[in-house]
């Protein structure tokens, strides 16, 4: 009985690849899908000591924007916090698709030369029939 109670906790711990100070994880992945789209769950995190706005964007291999469903695509994240973001990418008729999923933030806006930190993961979706 106790083991049944613990099982969901163990499964949740194994399914959460979040590490402190990580800007986004995972950064690599291959997904097989039997539908017209594939989904990736990424975990952006905020390593700063203050709240920042994070945008999640999807690009192709040439860094052209890809029409994908990102939920949520822009959000405020507290210090040392992390949250899951679900990204659903259509195959658009292709049998496989390589995309970059990028976490972007400008932690110190309003200054003369701003730096936008961008952490990008590379993901391959393969369609199975």
């Amino acid at each position: 009985m106790r083991s049944i109670f613990l099982l969901p906790l163990v499964a949740a711990a194994l399914a959460s690849p979040v590490a402190q100070g990580q800007s986004m994880s995972p950064m690599r992945g291959e997904v097989s899908s039997f539908t017209d789209a594939f989904a990736v769950r990424v975990y952006p995190s905020n390593p700063y000591g203050h709240k920042i706005r994070i945008d999640v964007r999807v690009y192709d291999q040439d860094f052209q924007p890809v029409k994908a469903e990102v939920a949520p695509n822009s959000f405020m994240l507290g210090s040392e916090a992390s949250r899951p973001v679900l990204v659903v990418i259509p195959f658009d008729g292709a049998s496989e698709r390589k995309v970059r999923i990028c976490t972007e933030s400008v932690p110190f806006p309003g200054e003369q030369t701003q730096i936008r930190a961008q952490i990008c993961g590379k993901f391959l979706g393969q369609r199975r029939s």
Binding site: S23, M27, E104, E111, Q112, Q114, I115, A117, I119
Partner: protein, 155 residues
């Protein structure tokens, strides 16, 4: 004396029996470290204009580069993007060529470059991000506020 040898024999037998019963079994642990990269911006940069008014750069006197702390497990690539849509004063109507560059010190020693650099080894580094705007011909920078954003990418 005979009992003494029998006792020795029993002890030896007991030892052999224990040795034959004892067994070891290795417990295997597996682990996998995936490629990770963390960028923490310590400070943004500042550009100043040159005496000839044709260069606005973090390299000029009084200017300073942006500073970024980088931590990675290796297996990633560092790069900067071309500057898009900088903010310039209304009086500046002439074109400017913006060139972002970066260098790194620490686990990843990188001389100043604008190209992408593979980071194969793990470690911590401090990345300095520079930006230079250049006017050509008789064009020059005008008074007012300039602002540009440099994208530093780890992938």
């Amino acid at each position: 004396m005979r009992y003494c040898w029998q006792a020795v024999g029993l002890v030896a037998l007991a030892g052999m029996t224990q040795a034959s019963v004892a067994a070891t079994q290795g417990v295997i642990f597996n682990g996998n470290v995936t490629a990770t990269c963390t960028l923490v911006i310590n400070s943004n940069g500042t550009m100043t204009v040159s005496a000839g008014l044709q260069s606005m750069s973090s390299h000029n006197a009084g200017g300073s580069p942006g500073s970024v702390a980088l931590a990675t497990t290796g297996g990633v690539t560092l790069s900067v993007d071309a500057v898009a849509s900088p903010t310039v004063p209304a009086g500046d109507t002439t074109p400017t060529t913006w060139t972002p560059t970066y260098s790194s010190a620490g686990a990843h020693a990188i001389s100043e470059t604008g190209s992408s650099t593979p980071l194969t080894i793990p470690g911590l580094s401090t990345v300095s991000v520079h930006l230079t705007g250049t006017k050509s011909g008789a064009n020059s920078f005008t008074s007012g506020a300039y602002q540009a954003t440099v994208v530093l990418r780890c992938e």
